[in-house]
């Protein structure tokens, strides 16, 4: 039997003060236009946003949580990548 469920969409909302769209959740809809309408009704009814993006969940590719050790831990030991690691010599202004 064919899968009759509508595709899943990820919803991103930009708030009035926000500079970027933030992921707020997901919903089901038959197509992109209806996904935006549904997102408007489900996720902006308390004035949460002024702009909506929807992306089909199928089109989102994610890193594997099991790879976290190898992906992210190595940077923990590289404190010199943060500007605070360096001492600013006297006499340097406007840093």
């Amino acid at each position: 039997m064919a899968n009759k469920e509508w595709p899943l969409w990820e919803v991103f909302i930009r708030s009035k003060q926000g500079l970027s769209h933030k992921h707020v959740g997901s919903l089901r809809a038959a197509d992109s236009e209806m996904a935006i309408e549904n997102a408007r009704d489900v996720y902006t009814r308390r004035s949460e946003g002024v702009s909506i993006w929807v992306v089909e969940s199928n089109d989102v590719f994610a890193s594997n949580p099991y790879d976290a050790d190898s992906l992210y831990e190595p940077s923990d030991s590289k404190v010199y990548r943060h500007p605070t690691f360096y001492e600013v010599p006297d006499g340097i202004e406007h840093m």
Binding site: L27, R28, A29, A30, E37, N38, D41, V42, R45
Partner: protein, 250 residues
């Protein structure tokens, strides 16, 4: 002597109140969670409009009646909504078709009422128009998708259109109330409104591959308080609390 502005506001307010109540019946019964929320959002928009319109009607009447008195304590013959808005929800397609036919009318009506010389009516129209534009977009999208969807969805929403079409001419009903308000400039002329509506509705129905019924039989009466058998049941539910426990607040 009849107060034309009061009468007009009650007609508009009752349209909002009754279609808002009909939509609220979907709460918890929507075909999907997203649409369940969408329909209750619509419902709340309409109940908000009814609140503004009936509150102003009460002020215009000048007998000390509040919007709650008007919404909950009138008898069926005193409700002046069009018959279209009291028709049963049916299936989801029927509800969306009723909504679409009504939203298209409301959008054109509110656009005209922006030119009313009455400050309060103009302000209510401006606020309601923003809501109505979205309502119409939403209901149009569904009519298109169901009409131009599967053979089953097309068949069912065509039946909805066939059932509801006979109630649409009443939206353009006009009598001495309208004549007096137009003469005094409280509302602008409504000439050509029905034709504009037919064109607006026609574009969407064509995209939806639906056929406008050729049957010309029309039902009217709501504007004079003569309703279909459905309004009584709506009022029984709507008014129960205030009738059983007068003055109840929560």
């Amino acid at each position: 002597m009849m107060n034309a502005l009061y009468e007009y506001l009650v007609r508009l307010g009752d349209d909002s109140l009754i279609i808002g109540h009909r939509l609220s019946e979907w709460c918890g019964h929507g075909p999907i969670l997203e649409e369940d929320i969408a329909m209750t959002n619509l419902s709340l928009d309409f109940i908000g409009q009814a609140t503004s319109l009936l509150k102003y009607a009460g002020e215009v009447e000048g007998k000390g009646r509040t919007e709650d008195d008007l919404a909950y304590l009138r008898y069926d013959r005193e409700y002046k909504n069009a018959l279209l808005v009291e028709q049963p929800n049916g299936d989801f397609g029927m509800t969306m078709m009723r909504q679409f036919l009504f939203d298209a009318y409301r959008r054109l009506l509110f656009e005209r009422l922006l030119n009313s010389t009455d400050d309060t009516l103009r302000a209510i129209a401006a606020k309601s128009l923003k809501e109505t534009k979205y309502h119409l977009k939403h209901s149009s999208e569904w009519v298109i998708r169901l009409g131009d969807g599967t053979s089953e969805s097309n068949k069912r929403i065509q039946e909805s259109l066939d059932t509801l079409w006979r109630y649409t001419s009443e939206l353009f009903y006009s009598d001495e109330v309208d004549v007096e308000l137009i003469a005094t400039g409280k509302i602008p002329s409504m000439d050509g409104l029905e034709q504009e509506w037919k064109e607006l509705v026609g574009v969407v129905l064509e995209e939806a591959t639906l056929k406008i019924p050729t049957n010309n039989w029309k039902h009217e009466g709501g504007r004079k308080g003569m309703h279909s058998e459905h309004l009584g049941y709506i009022l029984a539910e709507l008014q129960y609390m205030q009738r059983a426990y007068p003055g109840l607040e929560w």
